[in-house]
Symmetry: C2
């Protein structure tokens, strides 16, 4: 049970602030994250890590000498926004480029991915490593599909040491990928965790049983068995990992991770059995750790992570570091940075635009004003659909996102922005204010759409159709959803296909949009028969059968509104 | 729920072994404890801390440079034996004397106290500081009666730093006592903890409520209220402590301690409110900490500890240290000790004895053989009485203790020991094997009794009566129980009083013992009407009304047996 908070929605940000009050010699607070409080050599590669909150010491507890340069913190179990990732990265960049590390989850892949694209556009070299250590989430041949769990800690420790040693960005990325390729984890849960403000745990495990292959966001595991003795539990954890031991490997880094309510003394008891087991498999264990490294609020359970070492990985695993939650050896003394951190929102310059493009921008802004008004009206309806199998916040996210987009667009138009800039800034505002995966998707959709426009010409119907195609490509490339996954993509694909076909056939924009919106609406309603992809929401998947996907529905609502808007304006 | 273990009775020792496997650069395992793995300057005062297990990082996690030299670990929530304390101290002594630190609980006071007396007899200067920080356990004027909870951490940190700075034993003791006088804690519990192997928590708190003034062994608190917001909880915790702020104090050390299942992010949220509250009271907070420092297995709850600083306390609070569970600053580099630790039981030399004393020793040994046989027979009966309001292990403890005593006595007699030495060694063996408070009491009783005998003369009836008085003094001085507390003292006092009076009146030993045993038996049965003292077992106190105290009963059984033995032998 998570018990201590004032307002549940402020839990993550307040926790981060309190953490920074306790560790002023290690970290400084910025919005949605922390950066090192100590000086860093110019040109050093920066390692920036992050993800949702609720996993302390992941990720802010890793920031310090020899480990991460900064951490981005989303809400509890929710990815930080693209803007948050980008903002923290700008503060953490020392001229050597950035390695972005996070666990392999859809929202994080999306937000860190889009942020990396933004930063690259600003001239910062950014590389991405999504940690994929959880053997329960995909078979050995599909390592890249696995989730990231406690392996985060090993990869970020090793990458941080490589960066501290002065390696180039190419090399830090290579070492981090290599560490990820050689890191495996498996976990068990005895009881679920409870979100701040919730009365019930995200899942339960029957008394006397344990769930195998848990995730760290309330995913309850892939199978179940009776609770085992410490000796048998060591077998359960280690056997799955030892099955993936590379030939010839004799040295291993090991972390026995407690998920929250499994206590240190239990982990120490279990460790004696794990050590015996690993030694019995011919492995020498290098600097093992037992404790809390990646938690899941107050979840009861533990996981074992192994990294198959070679000389290079062992060097960085054993290297000294000094972060709030993890110290090793004696790193060189570091100076506290003397400069103030000015955490102002960067106000991008508005590029010059033609009168025609400004006029289009004003029209787009009017449109988004109507979209915002419509989504405000539909907030409860969308929330209701989402509540059947989700957390019920979809309506709220769409309302907040569209409202922020409309306001940002109006401001851009007042500042003389053209169509491309206006749509892009609207997308960024949507993503930053809406939160969650759907906010990121909508931000990405609008930004991708804007990329096919410009600030000099009034967009042609063909350009708009082309822009829709680009938006879909952006969403599927970074969002990774496919048709049939019961997401917004299910209604977006028929929309774009119809729009493209109708435009190519020479039909008017009004007609093309009308057909596309109709196709989108039909497809959105048809999602009722689908089951979501396996993933975070798996236990809820069956509940959603018979009900449409709220993301697909809201996209088709927006498409319908645009269709009507065009019919009135043309 | 404590879930991971092989055999519950091996939980504490296995956890300690696993801990030492994880921290080989900090600690080395010895029986019932750990000592620093690094070298220590000759003549440095040693700080040895300890208590029951289940409180990690208390106490083994505190062992390292700038903090403790060694830690003694009892079973879960049970004091370590006198022999364990003495053994660990012998390993930790560097010639500068020893400060023994522990929380103020009856079993610890007894075992650490008796161990200190043994060590002093061996020529080691030992001082004792029982931590008394819990404001819920006694009013401000009775600071010395308070329990020790998370204040342990502050006192041991400060005392450890003073010892590391090279202060004399007098000064380390003075600083530790001063720190204890200026340290206060108050805690709340949201849910109880579960012992390894148990199916139910030691106490429960109704949903939505919290218990105020908890202890760290399942003591459920002194009152209850609805769960508060973080801001209100900060008031609940801080107001009680601020009421005891010394006049003029403006600087304070603060620790927000999680009890096991209250997670770091919750503590950080709460910390923001605590900091505001303390600042608002005009206090500057020096190097605060939030995390797990003294836990109670998987208990859900937290406590706030404040130490009112002066210049000297602040210096030692802020000093660098490097222990497995707590590091601060950059202590000087330390070398790993190169020597082996030979953890053999010290076999004491048997002093020469007269033939008469050896004969008495053989007679005493025969007697204890009969006592052991009787207590083996009574094991289930005594266990049954104890199970009504306790953990039901009294019969087992008495059986194990008396059996060990009889065997040790037989060995002593074979080695030519006189009466005093034989009885003393029997007492030590009883305490070491029986475990728990009753084992310590019986060890102390027999050792105190032996002090009035010698190895040269056959003991006179008057000497035996005098010895009984000394044993009672020893038990009440270190055990702190008084008549009416529903303990063994309730039957021991009338026994000794009657024995003394009858002997003084010139009655035969047989008659005197018979009367004394009868008085003891009556008093033991009369304990059925008593309620135990407030303390660890408070929630069970009412259950015990109508049932006699098992310790008083077993003492009267032994007295009866001795009476019969004497009648047969004389």
């Amino acid at each position: 049970m998570t018990t201590i908070f004032d307002a549940p929605e402020e839990f993550a940000s307040t926790a981060l602030a309190g953490f920074c009050q306790i560790y002023p010699n290690h970290v400084r607070l910025i919005r949605n994250g922390v950066v090192r409080a100590t000086t860093v050599p110019k040109g050093k590669v920066s390692v920036v890590v992050g993800g949702g909150s609720g996993h302390y010491p992941a990720f802010a507890g890793y920031v310090g000498q020899g480990m991460a340069d900064a951490a981005v913190a989303g809400d509890v179990f929710a990815s930080p926004s693209t803007a948050a990732v980008a903002r923290v990265c700008r503060h953490a960049h020392h001229g050597g480029g950035i390695l972005l590390g996070f666990g392999n989850y859809a929202g994080d892949v999306l937000n860190f991915g889009v942020a990396a694209e933004r930063l690259r556009a600003e001239g910062i070299d950014v590389r991405i490593v999504a940690v994929t250590d959880d053997v329960a989430s995909a078979v050995a041949g599909e390592h890249a599909k696995r989730r990231g769990i406690a392996g985060d800690f090993m990869i970020f420790k090793i990458a941080g040491a490589a960066a501290e040693a002065g390696l180039s960005l190419d090399d830090v990325e290579r070492v981090a990928r290599h560490a990820n390729d050689r890191t495996v984890s498996f976990g068990v849960a005895f009881a679920g965790c409870t979100l701040p403000g919730a009365n019930e745990p995200l899942f339960t495990v029957p008394k006397g049983r344990m769930a195998l292959g848990l995730g760290i966001h309330g995913e309850p595991g892939i199978s179940e068995q009776d609770i085992a003795s410490a000796t048998d539990l060591a077998d359960v954890l280690a056997d799955r990992l030892l099955a993936e031991k590379p030939p010839g490997c004799t040295r291993v880094a090991a972390v026995l991770n407690g998920l929250g309510s499994t206590k240190y003394e239990e982990l120490f008891v279990l460790w004696t059995a794990v050590q015996k087991k690993l030694n019995g498999a011919g492995l020498e264990i290098v600097q093992p750790e037992a404790g809390e490294f990646v938690t899941s609020l107050d979840m009861q359970g533990c996981s074992l992570t192994l990294t198959w070492l070679d000389e290079e990985l062992e060097r960085y695993w054993a290297a000294p570091c000094d972060a709030p939650a993890f110290r090793r050896g004696r790193p060189d003394a570091a100076e506290l940075r003397a400069d103030l951190i000015v955490d102002e929102e960067v106000v991008p310059a508005i590029p010059a635009a033609s009168e025609a493009s400004c006029k289009s921008a004003a029209c787009i802004t009017d449109l988004f004003g109507e979209i915002a008004a419509m989504l405000k009206e539909k907030e409860a309806e969308l929330g209701g659909i989402d509540a059947i199998a989700g957390d019920g916040d979809h309506g709220q996210g769409m309302r907040r996102g569209s409202d922020a987009a409309a306001k940002a667009m109006a401001a851009a138009v007042s500042a003389g922005a053209g169509a491309q800039t206006t749509l892009a800034l609207g997308g960024d505002a949507w993503a930053d204010r809406a939160g969650g995966t759907s906010g990121a998707i909508w931000g990405l959709l609008l930004r991708s759409w804007s990329n096919a426009l410009n600030d000099s010409d009034a967009p042609s119907d063909a350009a708009i159709a082309e822009a829709a195609r680009q938006a879909l490509d952006g969403v599927t490339r970074l969002g990774r959803a496919r048709v049939g996954d019961k997401t917004l993509v299910d209604s977006f694909v028929p929309f774009v296909d119809t729009l493209t076909a109708q435009t190519a056939a020479g039909n008017s924009a009004v007609d093309a949009w009308k057909s596309a919106a109709t196709a989108s609406e039909a497809a959105a309603e048809a999602t009722a028969s689908l089951t979501p992809r396996l993933g975070r929401a798996r236990p809820l998947a069956e509940k959603s059968i018979g009900h449409p996907d709220p993301g697909a529905i809201s996209l088709s609502m927006v498409a319908q509104l645009i269709s009507g808007f065009l019919a009135r304006r043309r």
